[in-house]
């Protein structure tokens, strides 16, 4: 029995099940909600199963079609992939729970197929070891994300989606060009094989430039973040949550992979420093913009811009043995996903409740929606990097790395960024206690929507107390082993 369970091809389920689910939802919209919730739950189980398998057997490899690379495509999962899969599964479950109550009928039947395909694409991406296959999954994610952004219609949503689509297509094309160059330079699109074959030739530098640029654009790193706030702020709440929590992480994950296995070892300090610089700028600029916003959803969107910056601070800090810095980045990615998704769901609740998201007249929501406000507060703790929370662990590791390297510039950026984050979080919470000038009537918020947000926020706190369980899992297959630029 145990063996039977152990030998279930969990990874394959992660990809195929949501595809089947999506198609079924498209064919028979009536079953959409139930099926969607079911699918997300099974995905969580499958990730657990995969983790169990990998704790036993180490890294997971599967040659699709029986054709091992370079001829065929291989599925590959190590600790880093596992972390990303778990992130997608958890956030995905909460989003599904939330969406069962959020969308009214007409939107619901459009939402579910897109959402399940998006989940499938994310899982496929985190499981792929083939840079061309990664391109296809990337495009799949992009199209799904754009369609979801435009879902609610309306001027802002449509133009936001349009800008997003142009940006994401440009990014993918730049990435694809890099893939082309790498293939013709080294005769394979398999990451592991490329890792063995690459040496510092013009082709590699060109590919590095194109792919980094494309992926940075898709990840919305300052100053290429212009498309993110309008899109994330105008989409329906659960969609904003998915975009901020998962979609931007997908392209970041690819960049991280390429860097760890292919480009990092070539000693591209210059690029690493540039990325770090942009990251620092993103932290400051994003936080500043967030502080200036008067609408909750825009505030949260700019906070995403800032938080993405932290992820890129790891690149210059990973000189030599990069394990600490990369673990920090991975941890920050995970906890940001949980916390930020929670925040957007909270925004959705407040929007549903008061019919607006103007921060200045939240009108005593702390009494009227205690669960929702608690969710926002807990998520905020993680975003601010206060203990105990996933954000704190990530910040601690990153600070440690920065101090060991004596990178005081980055230390200062992290400190200031944290304080600015506190600034915009409490800007919201402060008004949650006060009375608005014009008390307005309000619509009830379904419990499932409130709890979905709260559970995510609690998860963001809990990962801060489970570092000693999570970090070893991330270490499976030693993803950061060759991490970092050779000094």
């Amino acid at each position: 029995m145990g063996d039977a369970l152990f030998n279930i091809p969990w990874a394959v389920i992660l990809i195929l099940l949501p595809l089947v689910g999506g198609m079924t939802c498209f064919l028979w919209p009536k079953v959409a909600k139930t099926l969607g919730l079911f699918t997300s739950s099974v995905i969580v189980l499958s990730v657990v199963g995969l983790a169990w398998k990998m704790i036993g057997n180490g890294i997971y490899r599967h040659a699709v079609g029986g054709w091992s690379s370079p001829l065929g495509i291989e599925l590959y999962a190590d600790g880093l992939s596992l972390l990303m899969l778990a992130m997608a599964a958890l956030v995905g479950l909460a989003i599904s729970l939330y969406s069962t109550a959020y969308f009214e009928q007409s939107l619901s039947l459009r939402f579910w197929p897109l959402w399940l395909f998006l989940l499938a694409a994310l899982n496929a991406l985190f499981l792929s070891a083939d840079i061309f296959n990664l391109y296809v999954t990337l495009e799949l994610i992009g199209l799904a994300a754009v369609a979801l952004t435009a879902l609610s219609g309306g001027r802002d949503a449509l133009s936001g989606a349009m800008r997003y689509l142009l940006a994401t297509l440009l990014g993918s094309l730049a990435y694809l060009f890099g893939v082309v160059l790498l293939y013709h330079g080294f005769g394979s699109v398999d990451i592991a094989i490329l890792a063995q074959r690459v040496e510092a030739t013009p082709i590699v530098w060109a590919a590095l430039g194109l792919m980094s640029a494309g992926l940075v654009l898709k990840t919305a790193l300052f100053p290429l973040h212009f498309w993110l706030p309008p899109a994330h702020a105008s989409a329906p709440a659960p969609v904003s949550a998915v975009l901020s929590a998962l979609v931007v992480k997908a392209s970041f994950y690819i960049l991280l992979r390429l860097w760890l296995d292919i480009f990092g070892p070539l000693g591209a300090e210059g690029v690493a420093d540039l990325l770090g610089l942009l990251g620092a700028a993103a932290v400051l600029w994003g936080s500043l913009q967030a502080l200036r916003q008067t609408r909750l959803k825009l505030l949260i969107a700019y906070s995403t811009v800032a938080q993405i910056g932290y992820l890129f601070l790891a690149f210059p800090l990973a000189v030599g043995d990069g394990v600490a810095a990369w673990s920090a980045a991975a941890y920050l990615a995970l906890s940001h996903a949980l916390a930020k998704a929670a925040m957007f769901l909270v925004a959705g609740n407040l929007l549903r409740f008061g019919g607006h998201d103007r921060i200045a007249d939240l009108d005593r929501v702390v009494e009227r929606l205690p669960i929702t406000v608690t969710a926002f507060a807990l998520a905020g703790v993680s975003i601010m990097g206060l203990p105990p929370s996933g954000g704190f662990i990530g910040k601690w590791l990153l600070l440690e790395a920065a101090l060991v390297q004596g990178r005081w510039d980055l230390v200062v950026v992290m400190m200031v960024g944290g304080l600015m984050a506190a600034g915009y979080i409490f800007k919201v919470l402060g008004y949650a206690f006060t009375q608005a000038d014009a008390p307005h009537e309000s619509r009830p918020v379904p419990l499932s929507m409130e709890w979905a947000a709260l559970l995510l926020a609690i998860a963001a706190i809990l990962v801060g107390l489970m570092a000693t369980e999570i970090l070893p899992l991330v270490g499976i297959g030693d993803p950061f082993g060759t991490g970092g630029v050779k000094p």
Binding site: P370, M384, L386, W396, A422, G430, T434
Partner: protein
Amino acid sequence: MNWDEWVPLLVIASSLLTGLFIFGLAEEKVRLRTVLNLLGAVTKLGLVGWMFWGGYHGHYFETRLPLLPDLDLVLRAGPLALLFVALSSVLWLLTTIYAIGYLEGSPHRSRFFGFFSLCVTATVGVALAGNLITFLLFYELLTLSTYPLIVHRGTEEARRAGQSYLIYTLCGGSLLLLGTVWLYTLTGTLEFTPQGFIHGLGEEHHVALVAIFILLIAGLGVKAALVPLHGWLPQAMVAPAPVSALLHAVAVVKAGAFGIVRVVYDVFGVERAAVLGLTGPLAAVATVSIIYGSLRALFQDDLKRRLAFSTVSQVSYIVLGVAIAGPIATVGGLVHLVHQGLMKITLFFCAGNLAETLGVHKISEMDGVGRRMPWTMAAFTVGSFGMIGAPPVAGFISKWYLGLGALEAGQGWVILVLAGSSLLNAAYFLPILHRAWFRPPPDAWPHEHDFGDKETAWALLLPPVITALLAVGAGLLATAAFSPLEWAQLIARREFYQP
């Protein structure tokens, strides 16, 4: 399995779980909430008693949970921890009783008592923290759990007070974080140990160590309201009286002072700190705070604001005692940690009673209040005399040991500081007493509640009377076993005479 490993955790849980339960309670469930509150407080007191007994026989309970690879979350009931944890758990019980009476019939009590319990949880965590990261964790939790108490009234004024409180404390917190991580990268450990854990670091780290010390002290000084980091304290007076009492006597301000004690004794070690030339400046800062606080207190007509500035001055005695860097002065500083708590909470309870019963907020309104509320003002008088340092009240003991310690350490100037501040204390407390007892009462009080023949509700009267008695007791029975003094001397021996 070994129960001892869990006692410190249970102490934390006793108030944490209470808080979480209470959050879930419906507003009108007054009785159940009261029961839970008292149950939590009494349970904690019992557990602390158990730990105290163990500590008295040299057995220190400890809980260890993994937090990061090779960095644990440690709760240890060492002597210093026990001193503070005992103080806070006793005063929590009294403050809870007081708050129940004070907030009777006011809205959002579930929320209030929820955060109230979290606040005490954080304080106890700060007290029991066995290493710097655990301390940091609860220190930040304290910031977060106090904020809702300060903005509890939901007025625009409250929101602004809360904002400035956060700006101060969060900046402090991040300085503390920076110092902690930096220290960790140098030492590879953060475990509190008597006489410090930085022996390994030689002269080449001199600059780094000084910088770290400044970071840590600045981070803690914000909560300890060291001048010039005290700006938030007077504003925070918008909070309800029980909160102010808690803030000043046990929770926030005390946590800061306690942290400074920890840093000097158990992180750097007082000798090393002196060698690094850090105690001198610290003493200077403390002195400035003592004098400045008293001077500002003189000119406040609002009673709570006057008490607030008096806190700025009084808490710095603790820092001063530490900074003099001698065993006897240490005793003075540590014992004042407890004494100031007892006396100051008495004063705030009384202020709350005046406001709640008669609507009296200003000193100029206090004429003859002693005849209307004799018990309250008696307690207030005791507290005031303690602050001034008149025997037999506890405050005298503190100042006595501080003075002796200063002489022993060859720092006579401190005597002048003590004398001067005592004069100032007298100057801003005696007029109040004079008004209260010797001026004729006005025809009508600003806003009087009727409590029948009693001067006020028993829940409001009992706590200040008890704390006042404790303050006197601590003074009279200073040499008895288990007295704060005895305990402080035990700690000082550990710090100074251990091989």
